[in-house]
Symmetry: C2
Amino acid sequence: MADALEDFYAIIPAGGIGSRLWPLSRADAPKFLHDLTGSGTSLLRQTWDRLAPLAGDQRIMVVTGRAHRAAVEAQLPGVADHNVVLESEPKDSTAAIGLAAAILRRREPDVVIGSFAADHVIGDARGFRRSVRDAVAAARAGYVTTIGITPTEPAIGFGYIHADGAALDVEGASTVHAVKSFVEKPDLDTARRYLDDGSYLWNAGMFIARADVLLAEIGRTKPELLAGIEELAAAWDTSSRGAVVDAIWPGLEKIAIDYTVAEPAAAAGRMAVVPGDFDWDDVGDFASLAKLQSGGRANNLAVLGDGARILADSSSGIVVAHSQRLISLIGVEDIVVVDTPDALLVTTSANAQRVKGVVDALKVSGRGDVL
Amino acid sequence: MADALEDFYAIIPAGGIGSRLWPLSRADAPKFLHDLTGSGTSLLRQTWDRLAPLAGDQRIMVVTGRAHRAAVEAQLPGVADHNVVLESEPKDSTAAIGLAAAILRRREPDVVIGSFAADHVIGDARGFRRSVRDAVAAARAGYVTTIGITPTEPAIGFGYIHADGAALDVEGASTVHAVKSFVEKPDLDTARRYLDDGSYLWNAGMFIARADVLLAEIGRTKPELLAGIEELAAAWDTSSRGAVVDAIWPGLEKIAIDYTVAEPAAAAGRMAVVPGDFDWDDVGDFASLAKLQSGGRANNLAVLGDGARILADSSSGIVVAHSQRLISLIGVEDIVVVDTPDALLVTTSANAQRVKGVVDALKVSGRGDVL
């Protein structure tokens, strides 16, 4: 195994609930705390284990909500106190990643940070790490760098990265391209065209950059937000942290890093992408979870849940069994059944994206007890 | 209201579990103990209430399994001890109805008995009672009489009674026909032909006859079974009942009354039918329960269960909520969801008849705890 990268620090923003995976994912049991692969460990822990050989386990920072602190530390017994950044309320990814980058830059001015979602699934950890090494080389050269997954099908559930055809010349990196633009989730025809074209990659939400470069990008688009982040970072390792957090955090603008960094940097030619040939999935809904669990086989019933008691006849799709009940399916195809002690979801793969709507409806109807 | 019929005794065989309604119906909670109409009372109690104005509540005999005695008596607080016949093990309808008839004949030689399933739904109790009065008149005239429901659609889930075109001349009855034959559940084309023909009626499993006439029919086809029934009946109201039951009951042949009485009597011209124009359903599976609950409306979601918490979007079919969980459905059509504390069923109306197969599979796989 290759050595850890000396100047590299990994950041894991562990924030989103994963509403499209309700009622499995909940406010108090967000997606990243679940074992969605049947591996026996949570997605968060798998993310950590994937990064530790690159960064060293003393150089992985987790940004999470105060409510999840205990659960996160239980998943990551090796995490150091100074590597846990707690959010008093969610402020989206610019604040989360920006604050981590700002804290780390004060501790270590030349640090290269890499931010990786806590709740994605990657099949080939070695392939992933090869791509990160290339991305770190590009980051050292001054690029805000992302890793774009080489598409294997015309997926409509992911955003895409349009890469420039010509490779950049970056020392220590095998293949790096400039990013022409980030594009939204396409329709099927467009996704097919992207697949044929070859210069479109799936956006896996990975950002690798020198901390100072990343912060400068935020400052270009959102100077007030950067000022707040820097004020927090300046106080972070001091006794005034609590008071400054209370004063500053509530006023931070809530905005995704895609809009503050990725898109503007791409438009200005400062964004690079490393093509990644490893299996990756954001497990965005139960349809993708079904596909992941069934290994892509059709007419197959995927089952997730320890000690699940399933009796299925002529049925396909996915059953998530988080109760101890016997579940019987007869003649239901592409079905999604998610069985938990206090809530049951029955839908189909085709309707998987609509699950978020249920969560919204539960919020407005005052049934937050099952969220 | 018309007076009770002096020579009439009602029999309610309360035996079958209703396996096609699993996991709602169970060995310890059979179909007849459930409220399937949302009326607030069990099907058994509704059957009793329908019959009491005809027979008087001291003249309704219930035949049920020993295990259900307490539940039956709780549903029917007015039932007299001498009107409860307990089976030590299920022996199908010839033994159940035959024993009741034999006991009643010894108590009252000229009695006319009427046997009515404990777990059917009838919308119009007055129409039902009018038909029973006609059937009792035909029974007094010596016929084994049934009530055949006038079909309202080409149903494939019921057996049919083929009535002779010409009416019989029976004193005190408005319309009685001879039965040409009983026919099995038809395919759809045949069912359509039956509906157009007009001389086919749904077999609702109702039998009205003089007790001695019914017993004579059993004796013609199954003399050994009748001998056992008579031996039991002779001992029934004596101190030797227990010993005789132990000696005789286990050896009784297990056979439906359709084969011992209805079909042979029809073939011999001794069977009559009264056409019934009232709403009737045997609620044989969740598809018919869905239809019953939704009033026949398509694209409607029927919900059964006190305090059900349902959140449905673009879904139709039926949800039976016997747990307190929130149930969310998205984009599932003609779905059947039956949610109980220890077992969950998800299927479709089209597959409703296959539910019995699950029960059979659970039996052989040793998961009898949920049966």
